[in-house]
């Protein structure tokens, strides 16, 4: 095991940030913590990177105990916080050099590991970090988190606020790092990124809702989901919510995901109901469950 977390809890005054969290991450695994802002993801990252004490529970990272061996953990993990935390007044190259030196290594020694990422920002290596674009900052932060060849990499919401193209590229980068044997714990509020992880933990309000592979989590969904649409989407949402047998109604892109409370559900009945309400061009058809459906069902 690369990370073991056992019954970790943490409160800030009255606010419970984490409540009895337990999970394991295998060596070389790409493990995702999926949950919205305020779920407790950052608190967990800060605890596992030894920046914060847990109130209760124990954990090991790279085989070391969180409290007794915290110094060893620090030299074996890379951490990319959610908020850009490099030195804005240092240049790209100075930042990288600084982090290499702190960890007693050099850029040259581990250049192989960061090469693919760093070459993209190398043309700007004399530019101050504060003057970089969002995408470039992200690449520099990742380079700095990797420069000492960590065994475990912690990435706290690396793709928040990042456009879909850059997000896709970032995940391709993570997959290649994983192939180099690095264990990765990554958090994200984007449910579609969950499918790219080996295993995920769905987390909300400091509690883990479920842990499994993305495929298995989707399979556990208890209901059959239908795609519904008509010409007037807002009215459709209101009318579906008013339907007496509705279990859940959630907009999903061009369709609304609808589930019924009954086991045996006849779509013709719903179609008639919507027709009576004045909807036109009604489509009702079965659809695939997504991680987001599961998350919302569990978080309800």
């Amino acid at each position: 095991m690369s990370i073991t977390v056992s019954h970790i809890s943490k409160s800030y005054g009255k606010v419970t940030a984490l409540k009895d969290i337990s999970f394991d991450v295998k060596k070389g695994e790409l493990f995702g913590l999926i949950g919205p802002d305020g779920a407790g993801k950052t608190t967990l990252f800060r605890i596992l990177t030894t920046l914060l004490f847990a109130d209760e529970g124990t954990a090991t990272v790279a085989g070391y105990d969180l409290v007794n061996d915290y110094k060893k953990i620090r030299s074996h993990v890379g951490y990319m916080p959610g908020r850009f935390s490099l030195y804005q007044d240092l240049t790209v190259e100075e930042n990288l050099n600084f982090f290499a030196t702190i960890f007693g290594t050099t850029i040259e020694e581990n250049y192989d590991l960061i090469k693919e990422i760093y070459v993209q920002i190398e043309p700007f290596k004399t530019r101050r970090a504060g003057k970089l674009s969002g995408g470039m900052k992200q690449k520099l932060a990742l380079s700095c988190a990797l420069i000492h060849k960590p065994k475990v990499l912690f990435l706290d919401e690396p793709t928040t606020g990042v456009d879909p193209v850059s997000r896709k590229e970032f995940w391709e980068m993570l997959k290649r790092l994983q192939q180099k044997g690095i264990t990765i714990l990554v958090s994200t509020p984007y449910m579609d990124e969950a499918a790219l992880c080996d295993r995920i933990a769905l987390i909300q309000d400091g509690k883990i809702l479920e842990i499994d592979t993305p495929e298995a989590i989707v399979k556990h969904y208890p209901k059959k989901i239908y795609d519904v649409r008509s010409d007037h989407m807002y009215k459709l949402i209101l009318d579906l919510n008013a339907f007496q047998h509705k279990h859940s109604v959630y907009p999903f892109g061009e369709f609304v995901h609808y589930t019924d409370t009954r086991e045996a559900f006849n779509t013709a009945e719903l179609e008639n109901y919507l027709k009576e309400k004045g909807h036109q061009n009604i489509i009702i058809k079965p659809t695939k469950t997504t991680i987001e459906d599961t998350f919302m069902e569990l978080a309800k």
Binding site: G38, S133, G134, G135, P164, G253, E254, E292, F295, A299
Partner: protein
């Protein structure tokens, strides 16, 4: 029925030195429309939006927003639009009530009107129990819904939303969109940026900016047909990746 346009931009351009951030964009947005303004990071969305809300002067081109010219009547534009973004929306160190009062005042509403609106708003959002709590202590989802309602306090013709749902949980994100639908249904135009491509599907029309230019503009359905793909995510990837 002739649709009234509340935003008309023609060849709108912004240059910073040699760099053209927004390159001659031309588009119209109709009253009551939900208009999705998409693009990769650095494509020029924020710069374009700043010109439309009257806080940045264009280098060249024309734009008329809520009936006012961006060069001559920037102050009038500000009075007739609402704005919220993920980064700046409300003051964390003020309570829910104080924020409403403050923004109502900024928008020039009378005290009595503010008081009345505050009551309705707190009621609608179910914030009774936290009305005297600091906004900083509220969950993000609540904050965003409150910020949205506050940006509508002065009944603006257009509301500009800059990534309003970033990081918000999936249920609240959907509730937020129901607020958007409701607002548009009442005739207020919604101009919104997002990185969630499922949200792009909720828009009446979507524009996609690439390197300062609008490279695509149509309904989500037609864009998917045009690029022969099944989702807005794929439209985006095709366009922005070149």
């Amino acid at each position: 029925m002739i649709k009234q346009n509340v935003i008309e931009a023609t060849q709108l351009t912004k240059k910073f030195g040699n760099f053209t951030a927004v390159n001659a964009i031309t588009f119209k947005v109709a009253k009551g429309e939900i208009f999705g303004f998409l693009g990769a990071n650095g494509a020029g969305k924020t710069t374009a939006m700043k010109m439309l809300i009257g806080i940045s002067n264009p280098t060249s081109g024309q734009a008329n927003v809520a009936g006012f010219d961006v060069y001559k009547n920037a102050e009038d534009i500000k009075k007739n639009i609402g704005y919220m973004s993920q980064k700046f929306a409300l003051y964390d160190d003020l309570t829910v009530k104080e924020n409403i009062t403050f923004f109502g005042g900024i928008y020039g509403l009378k005290r009595a009107v503010i008081k009345e609106k505050a009551t309705v708003l707190i009621d609608e959002l179910g914030l009774h129990d936290v009305a005297n709590d600091l906004v900083g202590s509220l969950p993000l989802g609540w904050k965003q819904k409150l910020a949205f309602s506050v940006a509508l306090l002065h009944n603006p013709k257009i509301i500009f939303l800059d990534e309003p749902t970033g990081g918000v949980d999936p249920i609240t994100r959907r509730q937020f969109w129901e607020l958007i639908y409701k607002t548009a249904d009442n005739g207020t135009t919604v101009f919104v940026t997002t990185h969630y491509m499922d949200e792009a599907e909720y828009c009446d029309r979507v524009s996609i900016m690439v390197d300062g230019k609008i490279e695509a503009l149509d309904t989500p359905k037609k864009l998917k047909e045009q690029f022969k793909v099944n989702s807005m995510n794929d439209v985006f990837l095709k366009l922005a990746r070149g």
